[in-house]
């Protein structure tokens, strides 16, 4: 089989893995007992509760998107494009929370402001009332998903052609250049990030459950799927899918193309940083305080709460096996994601796949995890496919469907940095495409591939949405175990578990940062 058809086949396989579950889900919701009927939908949405839940969830996601957008745009400029002291470290700190399940931060907030927390005395019982509700949930979500805005906007800021700004500097002050030239250039990336963030919040389960906020993903999806009535769950999943579809349609109408936004950084020199002058150190302190307020203090409170070796021993005893599973599932998932992501990105580069394929991989990333999970069950829960349904394979398929965009995006950037002539020289020497890919492109792009693997690993590791719905019986992942422990575990043990999760993501994250810094040189 030729190169183009092989690469198209790879993409088709991925698309089937990703889209068939959704189709199976739709079919199940419309044909609960073999005949086509809307009864599941009419029964479900006859209850006002579903509508209220859906409305509240959309409101919460919308508020998070607005707040994170308002903070994220200036913050990205500040951290990516100015000479702010300590900007690299601050950027890493602000990005860190996306690698943790939001429930970790939620638990941190309670550890901080709860009755026995370091600041608990300050607020008395009002701390709890504030936290256990939409406001607390909003703070946790903003801290957790702000990185989405930062990452996309900063990447776009750094990929901009510096000449465009210089042409403006000849006639305009730095602030006019910033507002008139720099920011308009990154608006597509920013808008895409905010909409993506909105979709990601829709699927969150852990933090709202713990903070006693009833959201749709928990009440209508996870619980139905687990305890009550699977047909209802499939019907309940469809509105969320529709919301995500609408968000992507909106992106399309706005002319925002993921293939243009998820650009490889320009190979030229990065644009000159804006000079902050004397206000620089004050802004750095302000940014540091914002980080402390969003993530630093709750994480510190978790550390204080856990600070006893016994707590760690107990945490490992309770969750050690889940830890091991999460590591191996995430490692396997990441390998699959890099393999498929590389072949898809390569296929697009040589023109075997359309640019629009990137919209699809990004769309799957935005689909709420529990929706994907319900789709996976709808498809694979049949006697003939028990080998998938009852094993970790179903989870790996979910990871591959949801997170392939990470492999796609990062390897695309890495492949783009290799001069075309390298491969052409190998072709002239008689090497077939598979050999060229493995002996020329992959070794030259190794930093990108390693980065893609680490990022995919981190996202699989932190995944709660899919795992919560599909984890194979008796073989939960760490995030699912954390979720169950948070309902009834001892506080210091949970805090210790959170710290262990933090430590496990911090190491790959640090390596990722080093790889990124090296590839920018």
């Amino acid at each position: 089989m030729g190169r183009r058809s092989t690469l198209r086949l790879v993409f088709a396989v991925w698309a089937l893995i990703a889209l068939l579950p959704m189709l199976a889900m739709l079919q199940r919701s419309l044909m609960p007992d073999g005949r086509i009927t809307l009864s599941t939908y009419t029964q479900l949405f006859a209850s006002a509760r579903e509508w209220t839940l859906l409305g509240n969830t959309l409101l919460l996601a919308g508020a998070t998107a607005i707040l994170a957008g308002l903070l994220g745009l200036p913050l990205s400029v500040l951290l990516a494009r100015t000479n702010l002291p300590g900007r690299r470290a601050l950027f890493a700190l602000f990005v860190l929370p996306i690698l943790l399940p939001p429930s970790v931060l939620a638990y941190g907030w309670v550890a901080l402001l709860g009755r026995d927390g370091p600041l608990g005395g300050l607020l008395g019982s009002s701390g709890g009332t504030f936290l256990f509700g939409p406001a607390g949930c909003l703070i946790v979500f903003v801290a957790s998903f702000l990185p989405v805005v930062l990452l996309f906007t900063a990447a776009s800021l750094l990929a901009a052609n510096p000449r465009l700004e210089e042409a403006a500097r000849l006639c305009a002050t730095p602030s006019s250049v910033l507002l008139g030239i720099t920011i308009p250039q990154v608006l597509p990336a920013f808008v895409m990030a905010v909409l993506l963030l909105f979709c990601l919040v829709l699927g969150e389960t852990g933090a709202p459950t713990f903070l006693r906020v009833n959201v749709y993903a928990v009440e209508s999806l996870a619980q139905f799927a687990a305890f009550y009535d699977f047909s209802s769950a499939t019907a309940a999943a469809c509105p969320l899918l529709l919301v995500v579809l609408l968000a992507f349609w909106g992106l399309h109408l706005l002319g925002v193309r993921p293939s243009a936004v998820l650009q490889a950084p320009s190979t030229g020199r990065a644009p000159e940083p804006f000079q902050l002058g004397r206000s620089g150190s004050r802004l750095a302190v302000l940014a540091g305080a914002l980080w402390a307020g969003l993530a630093g203090l709750p994480l510190a409170a978790l550390f204080l709460r856990s600070a006893a070796p016994r707590a760690y021993v107990a945490a490992l005893a309770a969750a050690g096996a889940s830890f091991g599973r999460s590591f191996s599932f995430a490692a396997l998932g990441a390998s699959l994601i890099v393999l498929f992501g590389l072949l898809i990105a390569y296929g697009r580069m040589i023109g075997a796949l359309r640019q629009g394929t990137e919209m699809l991989t990004l769309f799957l990333f935005a689909v709420p995890g529990p929706v994907l999970g319900i789709g996976l069950i709808s498809l694979w829960n049949r006697p003939a496919t028990n080998g998938i349904y009852r094993t970790p394979v179903i989870l790996l398929l979910g990871y591959l469907a949801q997170y392939v965009v990470l492999g796609d995006w990062i390897t695309k950037a890495a492949l783009a940095s290799i001069p075309r002539s390298m491969e052409e020289a190998a072709a002239a020497a008689g090497a077939g495409w598979a050999r060229r890919l493995t002996t020329i492109a992959m070794p030259l792009a190794w930093k990108g591939l390693a980065g893609a693997w680490l990022l995919a690993f981190l996202f699989c590791f932190r995944d709660t949405g899919i795992a919560m719905v599909v984890y194979p019986p008796g073989r939960d992942t760490l995030t699912v175990r954390l979720f169950t422990m948070m309902a009834n575990g001892r506080p210091e043990v949970i805090a210790a578990l959170c710290m262990l999760i933090l430590a496990s993501v911090a190491a790959p994250f640090a390596v990722l940062g080093i790889l990124d810094a090296r590839s920018r040189q």
């Binding site: 052609n161 000449r163 210089e166 042409a167 403006a168 500097r169 000849l170 305009a172 006019s176 008139g180």
Partner: protein, 225 residues
């Protein structure tokens, strides 16, 4: 009085010296070509004059006053009254042709009626009036060049810096635009500093040619002599 002046400037990037004790003078209304092989420091010289960078040593003067010296920018780019046409043109893709011309006028505080008048005049001059509301990305190579020229000239700069602006064009268009640049220069009277690695282009456009190699002037003279 000279319009643009570099006095013994040095500029290094890391251990590499892009310019090393480099001097240059361009008189009011004079046309000077900076000719030299790739990597010899021509672009760096333009960037120092434009105000994007400060010299490590030496002074930069515009209109007789010091605008930068020894690692310090005294007058920032936007107050030097210099226009520039970049090698890749750097037209702003998120604005129309009119928007590209208007941005600078607005930033310089030109009132709206006056802006309208000047944009109209300038676009008419370069025969782009009918494209005022199109996106520059949709224009041909030659038209884009003229937008870049118009964007710089609508601000009535005292000097215009051009960094190999015609190097990506075919022969015919190249000749046509050379003539156009000469005409515009005669009309507006700005000083022109034109960077190129093409001898013929330098001879056609300049009153005086400065040959550069490895960050130093090696020869100066007028094309006739």
């Amino acid at each position: 009085m000279s319009s643009l002046q570099l006095e013994g400037v040095a500029k290094g990037y890391g251990s590499r010296k892009a310019l090393d004790g480099f001097s240059l003078e361009v008189g009011e209304g004079e046309r000077v070509a900076l000719l030299g092989p790739s990597g010899c420091g021509k672009t760096t010289a333009l960037r120092l004059l434009a105000g994007f960078e400060a010299p490590d040593a030496g002074r930069v003067l515009v209109g007789g006053s010091v605008v930068a010296e020894r690692g310090r920018i005294v007058v920032p780019a936007e107050r030097r009254g210099i226009g520039m046409v970049f090698q890749d043109l750097a037209l702003w893709p998120h604005m129309t042709v009119r928007g590209n011309l208007e941005f600078g006028l607005r930033a310089q505080g030109v009132p709206s009626q006056e802006r309208e008048r000047r944009i109209h005049q300038m676009l008419a001059r370069v025969e782009l009036l009918e494209y005022a509301d199109t996106n520059p990305g949709s224009l041909s190579g030659g038209q884009q060049q003229r937008v870049a020229l118009a964007r710089a000239l609508v601000l009535r700069p005292r000097a215009l810096l051009m960094d190999e602006p015609l190097s990506n064009l075919d022969e015919e268009l190249n000749l046509k635009l050379r003539a156009e640049i000469l005409q515009l220069q005669a009309e507006f009277g700005f000083a022109l500093l034109y960077v190129t690695h093409d001898r013929e282009e330098a001879f056609a456009l300049a009153d005086r040619i400065v040959l550069v190699a490895r960050g130093r002037t090696i020869l100066e003279g007028d094309p006739a002599g």
